[in-house]
Each structure stands twice: as C-alpha cells, then as structure tokens.
Amino acid sequence: MNKVKIFTAGIDLGSTMTKVLILDGEGKSRAQVTGATGAEHRRLANKVMAQALGQAGLSLEEIGYIVATGYGRVNVPFADCQVTELTCHARGVSHLFPSARTAIDIGGQDAKGLKIRDGKLVDFVMNDRCAAGTGRFLEVTAETLGLRLEELGELSLKAASKVEIGSTCTIFAQAEMVALLSQGRPLAEILAGLHQAIASRVVKMVTGLKIEADVVFTGGVAQNAAVVQAIKEKLGHDVLVPDEPLFTGALGAALLAREIALKCLANGKTIPDKERRLEEARLYEDY
C-alpha cells in the first residue's frame, strides 16, 4: 500500500514555538521549519506553514493530510484534524526510538511524561496550574542574564558545584538567581542549580509513571545539554535524545497524518477533503 505517494504535514503549535514538518511520499522529512509562537507570531502559524511549503517546494493543496497538535491545535484552519501533543509525541518518539518505553518532554510551558508500550501511548502525566520547571524557566533566565538560550546549558556544565535554588515559582526563580548573583555566586553554579531544579521537578512528576528504560527526552528543552545531564543523574540511567528534539511532536503529527491518509486510501475511501484556509490560527476556543 505504500505505493501511493502522498505528502503529509504535522504542525505543532506549541506555547512557545510553532513547528512544522512535512513528510514526502516515502515518509521522509522534506521540510522542517520553526517560528516563535510569540504574542504576534502566534496568529501567524500560517506563515510558518507557508515557509515549510516553500522549503518543500509544495503548495498547500499538494499536502494530502495535515494534523495539528500542541497547545494551539484547537483552531488551525488549514489542518484536517487535531490530535493532542501527548499522542503525537509518543508517536514521534517511538518512530525515532522503537525501544522507547518512557518519554519525557519539556516544552515552553509544559512538561510531560509519557508511558509507551508497543509504540502506543498508554499513560501520561503532565503539569498543570503551575509552570514551574518548564522551558519558561530557561527563557526567563536567559532574558535576565542577557544570554542566548543556546548558551545556558554549556555554561552550566562548566560549574564545579551547584547552588541550591529554593524557589519553585518560575518567575521568582529569576529573582532568586539575581539575588544569588549579587551575593557573588558564580554564574555557572547558579545555572547549574537552575537546571537541577528543572530536572528534579520534572523527574519527580514523571516518577508517577514508574519509569522504565529506554527513556527518551524530547522538546525544546532537550536541546539544553545541562538539563539532559541533570535528568540522567536524577534518573540514575541514560536517556536518549533525538537529533532534533524540538520536532518530535510535529514529526508524530505528520506520521499520524500519513497513517490516516494511507488507511483511507487502502480502504478505498477518499482522504477527507475539507476546505483549508491558510489563515490565522487561534489558541483556544472561546467558551
């Protein structure tokens, strides 16, 4: 059935970043593009999509099926269907690492743990109410210190020891950090403390799933080597990180899109063909 060539796309409209990934007829990645989901960019998810289409040299009509996921999935007018980021991440993770049984994903505002069996999501935990221990923590840090996000991890790995960060509140951890700096604590050690704080919060949350190897770590924060290191230490064993952890959700979405499309075709049905408009996406419905 894989004879049919069909392009599919996944769009992961996260709280912080929008990610689009397009798969070609063979199921290989043809384009992947990210954009910030900032206050004004968020509405422009279509721009990121358009860029990805440009990269792939395709038009919207040529994409057989589009799955939207992430925080802003609920209203993406050019998607054919919405699937939660939990399912999409699980799908992406098990595609990249068929041996994965646990996945930890830390994004801009959420952190989640996924339990995967035979490539399928069977259980999960995620944060709510409080954004402590998420990527936001790092963004705020970078902003306060005038550093780039990419620098945080490496700097922190240089620390000889680490400072204990008491605040759990994302927003106040920043203030605490400032205070520590003014006490003359070395930057690297403070950063090490912050990374530890994120890792312990997330690992504590994920213990609720009874972690089993292999553990895969994804999401934007997985690009930060210090968090990866801290999570390894807390878990007491290795974790696998994809080459492009940011795209795991979008990849999962595109893979699901492909599955759905192929299934429809195999059953002799036409792919659900609803009208697509490449226009603004909304975050959540008004209700």
């Binding site: 699937v83 939990l86 109410r129």
Partner: protein
C-alpha cells in the same frame, strides 16, 4: 419537535437554586440545608421540612472562607462555606451536616460557629459497617429526630416516616429510570442534562422533584434530539461534581458521559431504604451500609485472618463493573478534587480493579475552578486518543 419543558425547568432551577426555596418559605415551609449524602432526608420530609442540598459555586472566587478555613482543604467545601459567609444561604431555616469526611465534619463546626443558623445539628455518622456501628447510627438518628421535632414543634410518627421513605424510594426509582435512558447508544440524555436534573431535584421537596422527574423522563423518551453518537462511552467516578462545566468539557470532545458514580448523581440515589418494622432501622442501614462512598470503611470479610486483595476490590468496587456492563462503558474517568483525601487514597485501588477488568481509566485532579478545566481538556482528549488508538 417536542418542547422539553421539564428539562427547561430543571435547567432553570439548576441556574438559580434558591428561587424555589424562597417561594416555599413564603408559603410558610421551613427549608433545611444539608451537606453531603449523609443527613437522612426522609426524617426531614416526614416533618414537612424541605431538605435543600448545600452546594458550592465554581464560578465564584473564594474570598471570605479563607478567614476560617485553610486553603489546603477541598475547594468544594471552601466554596460552599464561602457562599454562606456571603449570605447566599441566608434563607435556610436550619442546617444539618454529617461526619461524611474529615473536612466536612470540621466545616460543620465552623459553619455552626460563624453562621449560627437558627437550627443546627451534626450527625456523627460512623465509619464502619458492622452491627455495632449500625446500632450506633440508629441511636444518632434518634438524637437527630429529637432536635428536628423540637424545630418542627411536633412529634414524628412512624407512619409519617414510612410514607417519607416510600416517597424518597419512589424518587430513587425514577432517577434510576432516567439513568436507564443513558444506556442506548447514543444515550437519550447527556451527562450535562442529567446533572442539571440531579441538582434541581436536590433543590425541591421530594414530591415536587418526582413530578419534575416524571415529566423529564417522558420528554426524554419522546425526544429525537438527544446527544450525537460518539466513539467513547465514559463512566465518571469520584469527588462531588455540582457544576456541569467539567462534564461539558468532556462531552465537547468525542465522548458521551453515560454513567457516573458521584455524589450529585447515582451514588446519592442508587440504594433504596428497606421497609423495616421500625423505619429507623432501614434508614440507619441504608445511609451507613448501602450508600457507597469511600468515606465509609468497608472490606470483604473483616474476620478473615488473611487478606485476598482481589476479593476485597471485588467487594468494594464490584458495582462499577455492573455499571460498566449495563451502560456499555469503554473508559473511566477517575476524578478527585484537590485535597480530597478519601477519594485520593482510593484512586490506586479503583485503578487496580478497573485494570483487572481491562477497562482503561484516567485520573484527573482539579481544583474546582473554571480555569482548571482548560489544561484538563488536553488530558481527557489524550485519554480518548489512547482508548481509540485503533482509529489512527
């Protein structure tokens, strides 16, 4: 298309619970507020007192209650107390509370101290179900009867009490009939509508409630505009749900909520009171033993020297399997309000039981606020995706 007049009325009462109570008071009736499922309604009804269930209001921010209750207790109770402190329960002629859970017990004393209702009684409902506990419960109900009689200014005869038992049993039968209409696929009545009806029943005198129920049942049977068919048929278990927005959120996804085991729902109405020579015997037994809430300690056989965990689960949660079978449930939502201990401790055990039945379940904890629902939606949707994984 038939006009859902009973449904409309139920909805109207759900939206403004105190209005009818006000009218009844104007007619000279006394309205007694009660918290939880444990105050014995029949005794109030028999003395011509109108039992009125005290609920919270999820949409109203809690501001006054924090002065007398800490923030680390169940937000439903905090909300109910908060409303009272804001004079929203001022119309009550009396209040009766029971030792349903720890927080409810303590709140009873706080309520009594701060609000000083004209009549107040606390029933220290036992927590075990052995013979001595049932006897103790009966004795406590006799004390309750004494204070109620004082309030009503007359004696309670066994005949009147038996009549009240009948009236309430009849209402329970009607509720079960209504729930029966959720068995077809798609169900004839949604979870949201069903909750609205339950809340309105708890705001009306028993006969009036039963009339409303009959009307609703007739309408629902005839309607052709029920909920749409959806892949998931869910059962919801757990802490009190007195506001439809959680259910609305769930039913806004690809699921119908077809059955519940919660306190403004089947848990409250399911068991009947047995007709006994002394009606207090039937009542003492029904409210302590037959009513199944995790606040009561029950186990398969207390006298056994060793433990069979599975048999114990079967004994405690077996009814959930029957619900699941009869209502053709394919997934269960376990929910607990944050800081609700009695449900919290139960969760892993209910999960064990549901696992043994092969029924998928998800646990949600929320803090009784509208804002908490948005993040829950992703969870519920992911759960529905897990149940329906074959669809991809």
């Amino acid at each position: 298309m038939a006009q859902d007049r009973g449904m409309d009325r139920a909805k109207a009462i759900y939206q403004d619970r105190s209005q009818r109570a006000g009218e009844l008071k104007a007619q000279g009736k006394q309205v007694i507020g009660y918290l939880c499922a444990y105050p014995v309604l029949e005794m109030m009804t028999a003395l011509d007192l109108v039992p009125f269930r005290i609920l919270g209001d999820m949409t109203e921010p809690i501001s006054r209650a924090d002065a007398c209750l800490p923030t680390v207790v169940c937000p439903f109770i905090r909300s109910a107390l908060d409303l009272a402190l804001k004079d929203r329960y001022q119309f009550l002629d009396g209040v009766v509370m029971a030792h349903s859970c720890d927080v409810a017990e303590k709140t009873a004393h706080i309520w009594h101290s701060y609000l000083r209702p004209p009549y107040f009684h606390f029933i220290d409902t036992p927590h075990t179900t052995g013979d001595s506990a049932v006897k103790q419960h009966k004795r406590l109900l006799k004390d309750f009867q004494k204070t109620l009689e004082q309030l009503a200014g007359r004696q309670l005869s066994q005949e009147r009490l038996k009549e009240a038992v009948k009236a309430h049993n009849q209402q329970r039968a009607l509720v079960r009939e209504l729930y029966g209409l959720r068995k077809p696929d798609p169900p004839l009545i949604s979870g949201v509508e069903s909750l609205e009806v339950m809340v309105s029943l708890m705001s009306l005198p028993v006969d009036e409630g039963s009339r409303l129920l009959k009307q609703v049942i007739t309408e629902v049977r005839q309607r052709n505009s029920g909920p749409p068919k959806k892949p998931a048929r869910l059962l919801i278990w757990g802490s009190i749900i007195d506001n439809s927005s959680l259910i609305q959120m769930i039913e806004g996804l690809s699921a119908n909520l077809v059955m519940d085991d919660t306190c403004v729902g089947s848990r409250f109405y399911w068991p009947d009171v047995a007709a006994t020579e002394d009606p207090l015997d039937g009542l003492a037994h029904r409210y302590l033993v037959a009513l199944k809430c995790p606040r009561t300690f029950r186990q398969a056989d207390p006298n056994k020297a060793s433990k069979d965990y599975q048999a114990d689960l079967e004994y405690r949660f077996g009814y959930l399997m029957e619900y699941a079978k009869e209502w053709r449930v394919n997934g269960v939502i376990l929910q607990s309000l944050r800081y609700c201990d009695i449900h919290g401790y139960e969760v892993p055990q209910v999960k064990d039981y549901l696992n043994s039945l092969g029924l998928p379940a998800i646990y949600l904890e929320y803090d009784y606020s509208q804002a908490a629902l948005a993040p829950l939606r992703t969870r519920v949707q992911a759960f529905l995706e897990i149940i329906g994984q074959g669809n991809f």
